[in-house]
Amino acid sequence: MSRPTGGSVNDIARFLSSGGGPGSPTSSSSVFSAASQADWAAKRLVWVPSEKHGFESASIREERGDEVDVVLTDCQVKVTLSREEVQRMNPPRFSKVEDMADLTCLNEASVLHNLRERYYSGLIYTYSGLFCVVVNPYKNLPIYTESIVEMYRGKKRHEMPPHIYAISEAAYRSMLQDREDQSILCTGESGAGKTENTKKVIQYLAHVASSHKSGSLGRNKEAGELERQLLQANPILEAFGNAKTVKNDNSSRFGKFIRINFDVAGYIVGANIETYLLEKSRAIRQAKDERTFHIFYQLLCGATEETRADLLLGNADQYRFLTGGSIPVPGQSDSENFTQTMDSMAIMGFTAEESLSMLKVISAVLQFGNISFTKEKNHDQASMPDNTAAQKLCHLLGINVLEFTRAILTPRIKVGREYVQKAQTKEQADFAIEALAKATYERLFRWLVHRINRALDRRQRQGASFIGILDIAGFEIFQLNSFEQLCINYTNEKLQQLFNHTMFILEQEEYQREGIDWNFIDFGLDLQPCIDLIERPTHPPGVLALLDEECWFPRATDRTFVEKLSAEQGNHPKFFKSKQPRGEADFSIIHYAGKVDYKANDWLVKNMDPLNDNVASLLHQSSDHFVSELWKEVDRIVGLDQVSSGESSGPVAFGAAGLKTKKGMFRTVGQLYKESLTKLMATLRNTNPNFLRCIIPNHEKRAGKLAPHLVLDQLRCNGVLEGIRICRQGFPNRIPFQEFRQRYEILTPNAIPRTFMDGKQASELMISALELDHNLFRVGQSKVFFRAGVLAHLEEERDLKITDTIIRFQSAARGFLARKAFFKKQQQLSALRVMQRNCHAYLKLRNWQWWRLFTKVKPLLQVTRQDEEIQVREAELQKAKDKLTRLILKLFLDLKTRALEEEKNGLMEKLEEDEERAKEMSRQIQTLSQQVKQKSRRD
């Protein structure tokens, strides 16, 4: 296992893996606290349900039939529970495991405990078989840096601690190697971190798929730009599609599927974004303490004076559609974010005109809300006494204010074959305004996505394969649920089916690879009845089909829809007609995440989504090019002719005019949604899916706190527990031969001969020595497969065995120490005895006359010998003296010799000098005599 080492990286790695040993439970198997091991084995620890902690630890005292006596570990209180309530605890070696599928006791309590332990240690990612579970840390963890990206590059999933990068890397590698399209499915509650993780995936892919620096220069530059734009797409989408909610300061109010296309070499060549179910009602109304989409506040806070004037902007509290006025988001500056959004749009290639036009429409959406109608005194008709807001609106949208007013107050409606002017009530006018505002915003959002796609789509290079990232809300189960929840739950039902099916395929493959005969059940089929209940078109028609049908029916209401549904589907096993009185749920559907109560109020309206088509066609003909483009498709909207002037049932009743509308003229929301979902599922089915489950730990946005019941609910809803349940049907625990032998050989002494033996054979011998029921295990090609819980059993036996040996060894050690101490004592004793004997003897002796005489005489005896001794000593002294004199003499002589020697040397030197001088002189004499001779000769 290769783990990067060295200073800073190591520090960061601390955030990724659970401490000392390398991450995987296999290699850290022997690193466990001996003490906790002892605890677990001796106390027989289990999990029991707890109001406060979800589950708490307890130890079994006694088991009586179906009842179990336990003592709670924390408070030492004794409790009696039924056997089903008690869940077995995993041995300590499984503490903080990275893959919960490795847990041998697979139960809710253990899963929760493991997630919680890891979360408290800052380990937010955990695998659960195919799933990667992530718990929102609510703080910044240093685990998303480029160096971490580098650490995950090219690594297999099991080589590194769990991380979204590991998932991304696996998807990327598998796409390149197997040429198979990939998808990463992020689901979870709002605030669980779907969008953040989606961004991390894109960040990772943008990093690894563009850093191949081999291409030509021009190409690189372009690739860099594309990746930059890809990264900018999210901030823009977030500005327009995200909002602050009670749970989440940056909650995505739409689902999205981002498809990143790669070429054969693995470069990013383009991307495409598809969005689902924008919560457009947020544009006109928000719950307490919630905000509408960020862009509204960004515009109001960040726009320059000039822009403010151009767009006729007011303050946040001047708009009726901003229910709470201006609500700041802690830690965020709307005006700074505005600049960033504008920058992102510039990078994305939006022109200044495009940006301005978008902002204009934003201002217009706000302005819609300020138009108010009053009821005429004499009749029901609505009027608009003050048209300032309408004027502003029409200015912004480039339409004529008189035409607009007429279209709102007295639209032309087709009755039979003729058009008539039909005066609207105040309610109808209000409804129309709101519908128009919502539709305008939705169209703007759609345009934005389309525009981003245009920027990200590079046609010049052919994409070879893609990685799709789905970021969509998970199951929503409120007290009462509406049409939106039905859509999202329907989606999740389909996604879960995809997961179950994938798991089935993969398990099947693993069993085949290991040569194990096992009929796995395709649990994907389990979900089909519920899906049929929702989407089946006929025989009998499902919920969506019936809803559509009802929309075309004269005098139909939400009530008649519920009645029809109950009549058609009353016997469906997943359907329950509510017997409660009106006001409570109308019907319930058993989704796989649980029973969901639906209330059918406004479903017909929501499904048809009617619009004032008079205004729509005005907008279509707007003098502002941008606005008219937004409204270019007006033929398919549900117009006013489908909406009656209904006297009886509220602002909008359907078909009251008795008009038979041709089916298929336009599309209902349900139809459109079903279509886009079908398309999405078709795409996903052709990919290799990777599953990310995001978990929100608490509803207070607090770091380090994990509310157990909240998390358990989510685990139930998002299929983690279901996945585990399915896992349990097979042989979920798998151990490579080598590790199996190493760990459990102690249980089968003498089963394996000391000579070499291959892993499979050794494991088989061990298993037969363990006398396991054949149904509890299978031996594959490289691993032993076990049923859930078998390993815990082995682990327990191993612990008992070890503890037993340790106790025996401790006894031997105690014996050793005791005997050593005893031996010492014995020695001390015998020493004591010797001393005692002596003392005793002395006591007797000291009064014995002879002894007394002896003691008196003894000193005298020594006197007689003194002379002899003196003589001896004197002789010695004499000898020493002689020796000394000799030595002194010798020393003296030595000194003398040395002095003479020196004198001799001095004289010798002098002699030599004299000889030298003599020679010199004789030479001088010679020369002189020669000179004399010469001189004399000359003379």
Binding site: C717, L776, H793, I807, A812, Q826
Partner: protein
Amino acid sequence: MQIKPKKPEPKKEAAPAAKPAPPPPQPEPEPPKEPDFDPKSITLEYSADQIEEFKEAFTLFDRTPTGEMKITYAQCGDMMRALGQNPTNAEVMKVLGKPRPEEMNTKMLDFETFLPMLQHISRSKNQGNFEDFVEGLRVFDKEGNGTIMGAELRHVLATLGERMTEDEVDRLMAGQEDANGCINYTSFVKHILSG
């Protein structure tokens, strides 16, 4: 968006019907209901010489001021050990009739009562041998090189099983660790079994 399932998932327990039977319930840590120690059932098999030797040892343990030939319950274990046995604490407690902790230093035991206890303990076969101990300690040999970290061994002896005191562990391990703080457990076991 509160997720509040109204009911726990109904199918949770329904499907695993096909599930295999869970592994057999774990064996009890102690074999259930072993008969209590009955001194009357013990026949002494010691020779007169042996008994004399034991008596001598017993006097060594006798700390009564007047030499009543009695030892405290707490001394019983070490008394047996001094006479060459290796009982576990649990075994000692059992022959003493499971006294309460505070009785250990107050209750006294005379030689005649002690003898059958010693006889019982010495008949216990399961005292562990060299191979067992080496195999047991091998579990803690992380490197697989025949040594254990001294600190780890200390920890094991002081926290697992019948925990030993720090002082006991210190005396036991004096001079056993090498320069790296490691202990060759084979020779360690040999050393212990030699004494």
